[in-house]
Amino acid sequence: MIPGISIYEILTVTSILFFIGVYGFITRKNLISILMSVELILNASVINFVIINKYLYPDMLQGVLFSLFIIAVAAAETALAVSIIINLYRQISSVEVKDIETMKH
């Protein structure tokens, strides 16, 4: 508990962070930037887990443990994404989204 700060204010901050991430995910044209936006979205939701655990069920640890797992999964995901980006860069010398549209066919 942060003295003087209600759960509403914290949730407001995380919601704002989440939508900034969404905005980045949609507008950026670069794979690495998109990856970063995804990290932002993930982090915003992780805070929510932790905050709700702390404010509503302080005698439990589920939220904390879940955020640990999310961090681990995010790390694995980032590692794979970066390796894919590097491989792609080797193949087509670009990491711009517009160059990898071939999936649509």
């Binding site: 508990m1 407001t12 939508f19 690495i32 930037s33 990290e39 904390v64 590097i86």
Partner: protein
């Protein structure tokens, strides 16, 4: 006191998050993201989850950000300017995001949270015990699954990143066998 700190942290997070998703310089954008992640770690400190804050700092700030910086350096010139989306698309996206935010916030504020006043401190030992417990409510199974996932991700990352070289090598061996 904590209140002031939280507001400062919130301000830092939001400002740098916006800067991160709008900056046209790749490397700066990554550094702004680093600040946001550190701010989040600060929030964890404020609510007394020291272990989680430490994890946040080491894994995100220390690991993921470094990884992203490496990939940026591998595929970009540092000074390269990024393309940005068309203004119309930016506006539409902004409107959609604001609308979504409105929905979120009105829903949150309309809900009566059953807040429990407390000042409990969670130690690392508690977390560790819970994580490795196989009693009811223990997390041993997800813990093991995550470890397998991390191993698989590691192997996958290596293979994907080295894919071309492996191919070449196998081709070479085929050539020599012929």
């Amino acid at each position: 006191m904590e209140r002031v700190i939280f507001y400062i942290l919130a301000l830092i997070m939001i400002v740098f998050a916006i800067a991160s998703v709008t900056s046209r310089k790749m490397l700066r954008s990554v550094i702004y993201l680093l600040f946001v992640l550190c701010g989040i770690a600060g929030v964890y400190f404020l609510i007394d989850y020291n272990f989680l804050a430490a994890i946040q700092l080491t894994v995100y700030a220390g690991g993921i950000i470094v990884l992203i910086i490496f990939s940026v350096l591998l595929v970009h010139h540092i000074e390269m300017e990024l393309e940005i989306a068309k203004p119309s698309k930016q506006i539409i996206t902004t409107i959609a995001c604001l609308l979504g935010l409105g929905v979120f916030l009105t829903t949150i504020y309309a809900h009566e949270f059953n807040v429990v006043e407390n000042s409990l401190t969670t130690t690392t030992a508690e977390i560790g015990t819970k994580l490795l417990s196989y009693d009811a409510g223990g997390f041993i199974l997800p813990f093991e699954v995550i470890s397998v996932l991390l191993l698989a991700a590691m192997v996958g990352a290596i293979i994907i990143a080295k894919g071309r070289k492996l191919e070449e090598r196998s081709q070479k061996s085929e050539d020599s066998s012929i």
